[in-house]
């Protein structure tokens, strides 16, 4: 087989569409000493294209046990890594927190009936504080779950498109905005943003030369941070851009440190 013949077959070879004998002949040619004239490049290019086609398929996570089996078969061990928490993990965590809150409330109730001494009253107060904290945690988890559900629904709406949010000079991370201009809705999500203590990520809507308008905040969600852009700011023509900035807790009237920007219009 010649280099020219391999160039001719490169696409079918990369797609795995050659018959066994033809495929073996191409492999034998590629493994040969050469000199090769364009065939290696043609095969590399076709392989890269074929690999991209896999993106059309929805991703599917293998069972967590698969990695353990691979690790065992490599005959080595790695440093322990932080486990990824998937949506079901968060759901389980939310359920566990809710169950804990319920148990604590039960405990609170029974303690209340027996509370006669000052010590018991103090404990009651502490448990009430813990109950409130747990309620707040459950509420935050539920809100994150609701936002995720809304965003997934928006993703499937006709006319929804995705806008890349790119890091500004000197900044790290990236994000994506799920935007539906016709419905005046947008959700911004990032898998790589985590605010430092005492700080928050604020959303901005940018139109022309007008000052950026504050449009909400990102909240921590399973796998990163996400937030819905204030729908009131999306009425009318689409904005020129959406941005995320790092701000003191509570936010700012104008952006302090812009982290990500994504162009919407055009």
């Amino acid at each position: 087989m010649t280099c020219a013949e391999v160039v001719e077959l490169a696409g079918a070879f990369a797609l795995g569409a050659l018959e066994r004998e033809e495929r073996a002949a191409v492999e034998e040619h590629l493994a040969g000493p050469g000199p090769h004239q364009g065939c290696l490049d043609a095969v590399d290019r076709a392989r890269a294209t074929a690999a991209e086609l896999s993106r059309v398929l929805p991703e599917s996570r293998p069972d967590p046990g698969i990695w353990r089996a691979i690790e065992a078969r490599t005959g080595a061990t790695s440093r322990p890594q932080r486990a990824r928490i998937g949506p079901w993990g968060w759901a389980a965590a939310a359920a566990a927190v809710a169950a804990l809150a319920f148990l604590q409330l039960e405990r609170l109730e029974s303690r209340r009936q027996r509370a006669e001494s000052r010590q018991a009253r103090a404990e009651l107060q502490a448990l009430a504080g813990e109950r409130d904290r747990l309620r707040a945690e459950v509420g935050a988890l539920a809100a994150a779950g609701a936002l995720q559900g809304d965003a997934l629904a928006l993703l499937d709406r006709p006319g929804t498109r995705l806008v890349s949010l790119e890091p500004q000079p000197g900044q790290r991370g990236r994000g994506v905005a799920i935007v539906n201009v016709a419905e005046g809705r947008a959700v911004v999500a990032s898998s790589s943003l985590a605010p430092p203590p005492g700080k928050t990520f604020q959303l901005w809507v940018i139109r022309g030369a007008a000052p950026p308008r504050p449009a909400g905040f990102l909240q921590q969600t399973p796998g990163g941070a996400a937030g819905e852009v204030d729908p009131g700011l999306l009425r009318g023509p689409p904005p020129d851009a959406l941005a995320v900035s790092l701000e003191p807790a509570g936010g700012s009237p104008s952006p302090t440190q812009v982290v990500l920007v994504g162009k919407v219009a055009g």
Binding site: E8, L9, A10, G11, A12, A14, L15, G16, A17, L18, E19, L40, D44, A46, R47, A48, T49, A50, A51, E52, L53, S54, R55, V56, L57, P58, E59, S60, R61, P62, I66, A69, I70, E71, R73, T74, T77, S78, R79, Q81, R84, G86, P87, W88, Q148, A151, L152, L155, L162, S164, V176, I178, A189, S190, S191, T221, P222, G223, G224, A226
Partner: protein, 190 residues
């Protein structure tokens, strides 16, 4: 007791083994985190059997581990390499059981899997749109040939039989389609 010459030989062996490996387990894990979802998707789509697809995932990453020294960054990304190995292994299994056509016919029956997190889903959707756009711009016969080959796991001969066209025509369609796809995807960037 091992003599000094034995120790030296052992040290050389260990160094040689490390050089051959060319990838530590942490790197393999990072690669697994980055693309095991795609690798699994490719295997599952062709095999339609979760257990078998997970076997392919294992085989793929073990092959990447064993053949790490053969990897040449100039010839493509490790992720692309992983996907191609997985697809090749899945096709081998599929053809061994003679069921490529069945896989094609069952392609609409997507298995039920837990949804990935929002952000991964959104990013994957963005990349998927780019590839879908590239496929959509192909003339219908060329798109059909690529889809039958890539998603159906059919060979050129099988595609020709299926669409009732001469083998030469199918070969030309696949070649032109892959050239156009490569050009379109390169324009869009990665």
């Amino acid at each position: 007791m091992i003599d000094p010459a034995g120790l030296a030989a052992l040290a050389l062996l260990i160094l040689a083994a490390a050089a051959i490996a060319g990838m530590d387990l942490g790197e393999l894990r990072a690669l697994y985190d980055a693309c095991s979802g795609r690798v699994m998707a490719v295997a599952l789509h062709l095999l339609r059997d979760r257990g078998e697809a997970e076997d392919v995932v294992q085989e793929t990453f073990l092959e990447l581990w064993r053949r790490a020294s053969a990897y040449d960054p100039a010839r493509g990304s490790r992720e692309a390499w992983a996907v191609l190995i997985a697809r090749s292994r899945a096709l081998d299994r599929l053809r061994a059981r003679g069921s490529a056509r069945h896989a094609l016919e069952r392609a609409a029956e997507d298995p039920v899997v837990p949804p990935p997190p929002l952000i991964e889903l959104a990013e994957a959707r963005q990349l998927r749109s780019r590839v879908q756009d590239a496929l959509a711009m192909l003339p219908a016969p060329q798109r059909e040939a690529v889809e039958l080959a890539y998603f159906g796991g059919l060979t050129q001969v099988e595609i020709a039989a299926r669409v009732g066209e001469p083998l030469g025509t199918v070969k030309t369609r696949l070649r032109l389609a892959m050239e156009k796809l490569a050009a379109h995807l390169a324009e869009g960037g990665s």
